[in-house]
Symmetry: C4
């Protein structure tokens, strides 16, 4: 029903919309940073020092969203067409991306409290679901070469499929760790980000 020539345009618009959501979600993280002296009598210096978990969580979330954007960017080098199912799956991915400022706020506010484990479970759980969403999205696009360009070789597809399954494993580990140590869970998540940052730059 659609003219052939509009396929590329649709793909571009989905990319642009996704980029917008990534860019806003990553910028909204800053709203989690609060003036530590409001309603408190500590000095600004002490307040900022005491807020280290907030900055730690900010950097973790920022880096993770940045790497996920880079990953999204990279996935779209292989995708030539989009359909409604793909848009909905991509939307599910974006839903979890937009949740990140909220889960980051939770983990930053509670990592030093008795609710630390609950917050870390929510935080790690969200990244776990994000990783699952990535895999479903990629499987949908790549199975039977459904939405890929004709020039993409099957072994390229297999390599990416293999790389994608690593993330849910890591994040499920972070999720299990969260029940025992919130800090160890967040550190695991930042290690995943660091791992991807390093391997991504090497694998090119």
């Amino acid at each position: 029903m659609k003219p052939e020539s509009s396929e590329e345009r649709e793909t571009d618009r989905l990319e642009a919309f996704s980029d917008g959501v990534f860019a806003f979600a990553i910028t909204l993280l800053v709203l989690g940073l609060k003036d530590p002296t409001s309603g408190s009598s500590v000095s600004l210096f002490q307040g900022l020092l005491g807020e280290w978990p907030t900055f730690f969580a900010f950097v973790t979330s920022f880096t993770t969203i940045l790497l996920m954007w880079m990953n999204h960017h990279n996935m779209f080098n292989y995708i030539r067409r989009v359909d409604r199912e793909f848009m909905l799956l991509n939307g599910t991915l974006l839903l979890f991306i937009t949740l990140t400022p909220f889960t980051t706020l939770l983990v930053a506010s509670h990592i030093l409290s008795s609710d630390a484990n609950t917050a870390a479970v929510v935080y790690a759980g969200e990244f776990f679901l994000l990783a699952i969403a990535w895999n479903i999205l990629w499987r949908y696009a790549s199975s039977g070469h459904r939405l890929l360009g004709k020039d993409i070789a099957p072994n390229q597809v297999r390599t990416i499929t293999r790389q994608y399954w690593v993330a849910p494993l890591f994040y499920s580990l972070a999720l299990v760790v969260a029940f025992f140590s919130a800090l160890a869970s967040v550190v695991t998540i930042i290690l995943v980000a660091a791992f991807y940052a390093v391997t991504a730059t090497m694998s090119e």
Copy 2:
């Protein structure tokens, strides 16, 4: 007065601006999610459980805006030109889109209180007005083939016109239901989203 060649560029810019508003409104929904323990003595776990209406409303609004973006995207496959009237009508549509984070917040905060019906009426009412705005926008663009491409067949236009009238019917139902049961109204709205998600993926 305008050079012919700039028509496509204007259409693209209107699309890009609309995409920005859609992407931003969908991301702003996350600001409705609050730390349930601030100013309260419940544990984070209990607090998050008690916040289920907020998450429910978040997912409903996110899905609805996502589907509306997909619909907007789809409509622009048929539109080749824009004029000032169309921009203003599109702006009215965007006004209601940007209201969604506010009405979502209202329904999430009040669905368990005595104000539940008022909140649900506002929520369903906004989606009803959105659906009306869609119809006016499409009617303006399609009547007499005003802004459509020459390659679009009249029966394609009629099919879309018919599909568009379904949404106001559904949302007026949700609006009537809201006076009796807030929860049933929100459930109706998410059912509309689910219906569109399923039919959209099938109708392609």
Copy 3:
């Protein structure tokens, strides 16, 4: 120093950046809408009724920013090149655009209080400065045909220059009125928007 071919690309990027700021500022207006029942014992229905100035200001600001975006869009139909000075002047315009959610909040919160006139002066004053910024931007771009396309006729330029000078006159009227009646000043501003909406659609 710059290659000739990059001129169009630079103009496009300035447009895209400006579109982003317009789209975000227009969407951020929604943050001015607050749940009227928080920290108060009124019902939601009464609270929303009592909040009518907020909705009135929301619609006024939304419409004004939308029309200014349309105007920006239209101006760029004539502009083929940008330089540093133009970018800075355009930035000044965007600074006033991003201030709109703040001045809208002020006028909405105070229009029924004893501070109504101060708020209306700030609100009308901001739109007055915006109109001045538009004129400076256009004068810079058009004087000596500096940044315009070669195909733009001098009488087209003169027509636009004349149209642009109407806005500061209207807004200076709204500014003077603000010292006597806040409501009349806001009504003047929405009448300006309505006037532009109607003439814009006719003048095409």
Copy 4:
């Protein structure tokens, strides 16, 4: 591994994503402006006067981000390719850009309090780190002509490299000054912005 023809598209997408973050961060600055009368008994007029440091910091940050966006825009006139390392370095730059609304809020809230120096150190420190990030980004892109177009002459590269080293010097001065006088530090930062605005428009 990547097809040659996708290089330009990747560069464009990185630019668009960065533009989104710049546009969003510059618009979020407005959230630092608060109604001065909430929870206080001063009149709106007195309140706004008393809030002058907030407006001062708003204009300083807006101008600085605007100039950095223009600089980013200018840098991408020379860059023809991007790789993963460049994306991560660009992401680091964006991280500091998104921090600006937070550091601006801190300096605006504390410039008249006993915490003024701490706030100014954080503010100047962030701009210093931003300037360092710019230099690393440019050095990575330009060393050995890694990501530059073939048409860019070595002396053009050297000129830019020289210009870029000026900013860290200025901002380290602002950082040192911040320990003695918060206001003098912020004034230094706005003078840097003014200097760049003037020289940028002249150097073209």
